[in-house]
């Protein structure tokens, strides 16, 4: 058994407590991010996810300055930013990107200031921005579990109204669903999920875990529950494979530099997204052939693709 596994898992992989912590946190994060991600993609709020992650940079660098755990910084700033976006007008599709952008710009300015103070003493910038799943303290696990439970709780409670509101806000409003309140709660869940993902692969990469697996899953299936499960599986797969490869990479060139876990996770997610388009292309091509190759107009209407 060990002989077959040896080339894949470098010696000491299963004994390392760092790896244990990374696997536990990584798995929880993948579950939460995949679940929230499906709604993020359906609602077309990838930019909000990305912005909340980036804003975590401000929180992380602030936490570094004050000397509390990074996750607290991510959390506080992501939630505050989500509230600010909601107030400026994230609920209207047209002003949404702009509201997100303005909040993001201001927060990044603040991050520049915090990191300026940080860099004079430590090299906090890279840890915060690009994550360090391999340098995680096992004491963060309880907090991660608690936060994951909160997010999954919100997602489960709001499942139906959120789904309806994501697909058609008008229809949801007509059915008496408080669309704005649901949207605000969802934004809170997104902020927590992004904070967790930031802890895992870094603030500016956190979107990869939230949006990537969900987007791939939604190209494979149209059913929401199946999509959530698929997204969670892709996220867990990418995280685990990333951890294994990063552990192995200590023996790869250039010697003495491990390859970053975040790089592997992000790349695997990106490849998964590209591959997820293949089945649909086959189907379309098959249909075209059946129709006697009558042009390439078969498929979704343009408007559906844009949205």
């Amino acid at each position: 058994m060990n002989r077959f596994l040896a080339p894949v898992f470098a010696p000491g992989f299963f004994e390392s407590s760092t790896v244990h912590t990374a696997l536990i946190v990584g798995t929880l994060v993948a579950i939460v991010a995949g679940t929230v991600g499906v709604f993020t993609v359906l609602r077309g709020q990838s930019f909000a996810g990305e912005a909340l992650g980036d804003i975590g940079t401000t929180g992380g660098s602030g936490a570094f300055l004050v000397g509390v755990g990074l996750l607290w910084g991510f959390l506080i700033f992501s939630i505050a930013a989500a509230a600010a976006m909601e107030l400026i007008g994230i609920q209207r599709p047209r002003g949404r990107d702009l509201a997100t952008g303005i909040v993001l710009g201001a927060a990044l300015g603040l991050a520049a200031l915090f990191l300026y103070f940080d860099t004079t003493t430590t090299g906090a910038t890279i840890t915060i921005l690009f994550g360090s799943l391999s340098a995680l303290a096992s004491s963060t696990i309880p907090l991660v579990i608690l936060l994951s439970a909160i997010v999954l709780g919100i997602a489960a409670t709001l499942y139906r109204p959120l789904l309806l509101g994501s697909v058609s806000a008008e229809l949801a409003a007509a059915r008496g669903i408080p669309v704005r309140a649901v949207g605000a709660l969802y934004l809170l869940a997104l902020a927590i999920a992004v904070a967790l993902a930031s802890q895992s692969i870094g603030t500016i990469l956190s979107t990869a875990l939230v949006v990537g697996p969900a987007a791939a899953a939604l190209r494979l299936t149209r059913r929401p529950v199946t999509a959530i499960l698929t997204a969670v599986l892709i996220g867990i797969g990418a995280t685990w494979l990333g951890i294994v490869l990063a552990y192995d990479s200590y023996s790869w060139p250039p010697v003495g530099h491990g390859w970053s876990v975040s790089f592997f996770v992000v790349t695997i997610v990106f490849v998964a997204y590209l591959l997820s388009g293949v089945p649909r292309q086959w189907r379309t091509r098959g249909r075209e052939r059946a129709a006697g190759g009558a042009g390439s107009t078969i498929g979704e209407p343009r408007a559906a693709r844009e949205r």
Binding site: V41, G44, S46, F47, G49, E50, A51, D54, G89, R94, D97, L98, T100, G101, I102, V103, L104, G105, A106, L108, G109, L110, A111, A112, L113, L115, Y116, T119, G123, A124, T125, I126, L129, F130, G131, G202, I204, L205, T207, A208, V211, G212, A215, P254, H257, G258, W259, S260, S262, F263, V265, V266, T267, V269, F270, Y273, G277, R305, E306, R307
Partner: protein, 273 residues
């Protein structure tokens, strides 16, 4: 100091002009993604010890074209997010290999206009001219395709081709602005100033002029304050542009309430956003 002023002025003009179209097209995310992803190129360039501008340019173009081509099939915002994080993932990998000091990485992310030398001015000026010329040449079709894509298509202006052209212009603007405000903050200059300008007028040319003016004020104030306080320029750029947007919104709200009081119809641009 004179170099910093010149450089920042050039950057503000380009950011104001390109930013106007970014806001008009609702491409804030792309304007954020392309410069951010280009960061990886800058780190890669330092790894290969070639010019940062080449790395930035290569990655910015690569990112812009990836977003343009993949965005045709998939959801636009998803593709943008994924292309961005993929490039940043490469950046994380390169960072693991470099022996750069944290302060140099920091200046890439958040800019260091005060340290600009006069030899760096020429490429920036060259790229700025190319950007502005591209916008002037594309002005009419780009405007049409941004506001009324269907009408554009009917007149033979391909929305896809315009999108690609626009993305390339954003990539060029990115390449030249990164050394000044850094990959993370360009975007607040490219969004804040034009968004504020649009609160004051809805006619394109005055809006562009106003957007450039506001961008100029933002960078000038930021540099002056940063010079006297020694705090990073990026902080002041981010804060001033958010402030200018807030002022714009405040002005629009005041106008709206006054029109309502006087019983005049609310101007179209003010009721929207």
């Amino acid at each position: 100091m004179v170099n910093a002023w010149t450089e920042a002025t050039i950057v503000a003009v380009v950011a104001g002009v390109v930013g106007f179209f970014t806001v008009l097209r609702g491409s804030a995310f792309v304007a954020h993604a392309v410069p951010n992803g280009a960061f990886a190129g800058a780190v890669g360039a330092s790894l290969l010890s070639i010019s940062t501008l080449i790395g930035l340019g290569a990655f910015a173009l690569f990112g812009a074209l990836t977003i343009g081509v993949l965005g045709r099939r998939g959801r636009h915002d998803v593709v943008t997010a994924l292309a961005l994080v993929f490039m940043l993932g490469l950046g994380a990998l390169f960072l693991g290999f470099t022996v750069e000091y944290a302060s140099e990485i920091y200046s890439l992310l958040f800019g260091e206009v005060l340290g600009i030398s006069s030899t760096e001015l020429a490429p920036t000026a060259g790229l700025a001219v190319v950007c502005i010329l591209a916008i002037v040449v594309l002005y009419r079709p780009l405007m049409l395709s941004s506001v009324l894509p269907e009408a554009g298509e009917a007149r033979g202006v391909s929305a896809f081709r315009m999108e690609l052209c626009f993305l390339v212009v954003v990539a060029l603007a990115t390449t030249m602005t990164v050394p000044v405000v850094g990959t993370l903050l360009i975007f607040s200059l490219m969004i804040g100033a034009p968004a504020a300008a649009r609160s004051f007028t809805d006619r394109p040319l005055p809006a562009i002029a106003l957007s450039v003016t506001i961008a100029l004020m933002i960078v000038w104030v930021a540099i002056a304050v940063s010079y006297t306080t020694n705090y990073p320029v990026g902080f002041f750029v981010g804060m001033t542009s958010a402030l200018s947007y807030a002022l714009g919104r405040g002005w629009a709200a005041w106008r709206r309430s006054r029109s309502a009081r006087l019983g005049r119809p609310v101007p179209e641009v003010l009721s929207g956003t």
